[in-house]
Symmetry: D2
Subunit: 373 residues, 4 copies
């Protein structure tokens, strides 16, 4: 029986999520190699051993380089903090491993570029964990666009909002430091960008405005510290295809928990989506009789592949973690040389470029062309 050997570096939430994806991918899809959970790395040998037992890995190490050197490991899941991504991903690729790295690529653009360059040279598969694009409903939106159901698209609006920075009382943390990036742009904008670029292709230019709901935040020692980046960003953009749109991201939006709202307007209809109701899409078409036209709420169902691999009945719903299992299946496709719906390091780099262009636009108060890798 064919199998694939998995190494996992980092066992926080995303590490658990990768583990579940590896455990589920074959039973869910009923195809592909069997998964062998070979090796897990953590910050200490003790922690690694403990996590290996909980997650079901065979070997454990406190030194991630040992994992990368393990000949039984075919693919490395990297779910450590962003700052570690470049070194680990580059080392894994150079050791001949495929790499499944969580997003975003790296705090510094130069590091992301080095990662992409290494991936290109390696002949290995290197993808990023942009799992929202794997939602069967998002795929269905892609099909609707391809089929011309709403005609040529002429306008797009996207929003991504959560509220973990919404309280003025939330203490200053590393997330508020300039070293952690621009703020909402890095945390959130990359996700809608993964959707935009998947559905519509690359951006041409952007204009951004960023703001802070609170100029400073309390510190744990009773003082206050100036917030160095931006919890809110609003962006106007034009795609390379000419379609204009807006993007608003806010990590201080009370009440929003996992909102990723999309509005797509075409010449024959419109499509609406919100990740908080990830098993639904709203579709308006002009083919309905005039008196009966309206947005129809379509529930995720077997015709929306690969929903059917999870549940055979419509309207029963996938969960957030299921998206990772689909992503894992696509990674296996890519490794097998088959067509795969993934965001590889090159496309990931495009997303990083767009983010940096937005920040430059805010700084310069002008439209900025989005660079290409």
């Amino acid at each position: 029986m064919e199998h694939i050997g998995v190494g996992l570096i980092g066992t926080g939430y995303m590490g658990k999520c990768h583990t579940l994806a590896w455990a589920n991918v074959r039973p869910v899809f009923g195809e592909g190699p069997a998964t062998r959970l070979v090796h897990v790395a953590e910050t200490s040998a003790e922690l690694a051993a403990e996590r290996a037992e909980a997650l079901g890995f065979e070997k454990a190490t406190g030194d991630w380089r040992q994992l990368i050197a393990d000949p039984e490991v075919d693919v490395v899941s990297i779910t450590t903090p962003n700052a570690f991504h470049p070194e680990m991903a580059i080392a894994a690729l150079k050791a001949g491993k495929h790499v499944w790295c969580e997003k975003p690529m790296a705090p510094a653009l130069a590091d992301a570029e080095a990662m992409a360059k290494t991936a290109r040279a390696s002949g290995r598969v290197a993808i990023l964990g942009y799992n929202y694009i794997q939602n069967p409903i998002i795929r269905h939106i892609g099909s609707l666009l391809d089929l011309g159901t709403i005609g040529p698209v002429n306008h797009i609006r996207l929003e991504m909002d959560e509220d973990f920075m919404a309280s003025a009382k939330t203490p200053f943390s590393w997330k508020n430091e300039a070293a952690a990036g621009y703020g909402a742009l890095d945390d959130f904008a990359v996700h809608p960008l993964s959707l935009i670029t998947t559905l519509f292709g690359p951006l041409a230019r952007v204009f951004a405005h960023m703001s802070k709901p609170y100029p400073d935040r309390p510190t744990f020692d009773g003082g206050r510290r100036t917030v160095e980046n931006f919890d809110i960003a609003s962006i106007l953009f034009e795609l390379a295809s000419g379609i204009p749109g807006t993007l608003a991201v806010n990590r201080a939006a009370w009440g929003r928990k996992g909102r990723l709202a999309i509005q797509i307007f075409g010449s024959l209809g419109s499509i609406l989506f919100d990740q908080e109701r990830m098993n639904e899409v709203q579709l308006y078409t002009t083919t309905d009789e005039c008196a009966n036209q309206g947005f129809r709420t379509v529930l995720a169902a077997p015709p929306h592949a690969p929903y059917d691999r999870f549940v055979p009945a419509p309207g029963h719903g996938l969960g957030f973690n299921d998206l990772k299992t689909i992503e894992c299946r696509e990674l296996l496709n890519a490794i097998a040389g088959a067509p795969a719906r993934v965001i590889d390091f090159d496309r990931g780099l495009q997303i990083e470029h767009a983010v940096h262009a937005m920040a430059a636009s805010h700084e310069g108060q002008k439209w900025i062309e989005v660079g290409t890798p």
Copy 2:
């Protein structure tokens, strides 16, 4: 019995809407002067006579100057096409009449300025028909903001969308001519601006991007004609108070029929509203226990004045035309010298300035400060 004499120029939909407001204002509110529908003007004496009978006016004329000269007329409702507003409003004010003029003020900024100047000099009440601000739910949002229920506001998003220009087959009309204005900015942006300025005060600066879903449209003679203005506009703004926000307007948005969506984010909660469900507001506050926090859908009800004047039970719903009756009541307040929730010609002029600043920003691709009257 005290009464007020009404003159009406123009009997299209808005003329009917004013008539209903005048007929309903006293029975609904149970206070104020009795309304006497004195004089109606149309483009011909015959049409005026026909409309007088249908709408219940005593006198009819094909010459609006006769109506303005009528001593029995105390207040003039002007519901003609925008281009006629300046001449009629100025003449009415100079004749000592109060004026209730539909929005926007005038195609040319200079005319709007002249209207505002005349109004200031006249000692009469001159207001514009921005009826969305009269919705009891919008008033309630104002109360929530005043009470600090969601804390200081730090971000705003607005959208106004309809679909009457969404089809590529919709023939070129006067609305697509540059002479009719900038497009979606004039048709729609003024409405959210009336809400923003009522709830939050004036704008400081704007950055705009405008686009056309279709570069040309079919003409009735079988040809095609270049579209001269913009069905879509997307705007970033900063208020004078410092609050940043976004505004998107689109008159080619399939499926949107009367969307006017507002998202207000504060330090203690959030407020959502959509005019398509004009009898509801969604409120999120952090006072609820954590496990039970969520946006609550509050239905319009008697505590939201003046809903109670229309229906004594909650959740039964007002209609679009009812907003005009409330506006009429506020106009009567203003005439009586009482505090009134109205957009007078000076505030209307601020809105026009904001629209022109947006257009200038699109042209110049830079932030534009919003002028003041």
Copy 3:
């Protein structure tokens, strides 16, 4: 100019609502006789005079028989408490007036039967104020059913809920007395019954269960008094056409403000409606492609007559009071001998019979055939 003379007995909320309908019907519809508000009756001459001035009636009386004797009155709006309906309606009909009486007809079935008998003999129009059937969305549902859009109907569910009796602290009132009727059956069931019988025809048999959330309620003197009727009722029914369904009514349902929810299931689709969002209907049809099937939310719009008489643009919304204006227009149709969508006293009597059958079923714990007039 043709006109109709209106008399109004009772000037509470429904009296105001009738007045607005009379004032608006001609300007809104642009057809039919001019309305003359002739005479208003209240419990005292002083109150009547005060209300005449507020509502715009010419004459006022403290004796409703004077109003009925007034030769200038053509039609009498009766909006007094239910117990007064029989005497007033019968007197008005015998005096040759048309009658527009609020629902329900009368506390006692015998009185309702006498009203219907008198109406039949009078040659005059006598209708009841079941205004929910006038909603353009409800009419559109009727059209969809007539057109076979959802195929033959095989199941119906209805609910009507409000919360004015939901608190245990709400003091005992006349509404809790057996003399006021069965409770939720009289207050609410009649409304869904007006919809059912309008859309589907009469009921054949019913099975009911009634309950009290609170066995007693506080009295104003500090004591407690046993509740004599039922705030909650749940009914199974079969229509004469054979369609089975359920009806649930609850006037103690916290959070429900004006819910009147309908679910209609047919062989080709389904229709959903809720009066709390009275400007929307949800339609599911099987003609959509399988992957795109869903309930579409259709907003009230000009194709849904007579919405267009109120607003020329879709999605702007009618209000609860507008339904009364439509009802008034239908009354005028009936008076003119034209086809009219009204619930006359005979159909009203059918509704009363159904309510009494429900109560009898609860009492006898068995299916009860619904009597016919």
Copy 4:
């Protein structure tokens, strides 16, 4: 390392679902025994071998009795058609295995009683796959009820609807035979009953009405065959605690895909839920200020245990299959002798009794007391 040996009989959708639950339960919860997928049984040795490889089981057999005899198997998942449940479950229990059997128990009540009796005598854990009760949102509803957040409950409404029998063209199948049970009662009513009995305790009496949208259905040989059971059922009920309610189930309800709607009314508030949006609950309480009361939409979040074991952030959503993982965790609790939220064979038998009482009520057209085991 402690572990548990799993046997699985039947590898259809529910077999896959059990497999995923067994694979995920330890990584998700980070506690409990490691799972060993020991043995799978199918209708032939070949199929069993194929499924063992796809699902990751060690051994395969075409004879389920071999699986039950396997000393390495500690617990048996039974996911075969209902008719096989009694023989398999009883054999497994007698062999000293714990049993996790899909619902419902058995077509014949006597068989279900035998299963419960065997389970009681076995000293082993025997539970049924009523996974809807495992939804963290349903658990949260239970907590709200326990905490008295909406006060004592006085009325309940439940609906469960799908549309797989909605088309008249759907051919006659075994599901339409009387031998398959009563129809919607067996397919659907058991689910809401699992929720009712979990949240509120057992039923006291029921009154039911059943109907068929189509008297016959096409057969594959071009003929037609009379439908022998009922796609629609409507039930009135009273709980042993005295709370009255309604239950409506329909497997021919176009547009409903996985609706399981609950309305719970209490003296201090209300709770609404619909499985089609399984990550939300709507809560209305009277503690909010009057002008701000409304149903709040609470998204599933870490405070709603065990949501946090799947995702650490709110609003990201669990899927239908995740409920099975939670059920598996509860089964392990039961096996360990800890408190467990499960429906064991005794409680399952109560549900079967309720279903049979409903059918008897329909037949006898009278209230039927629900028997106890």
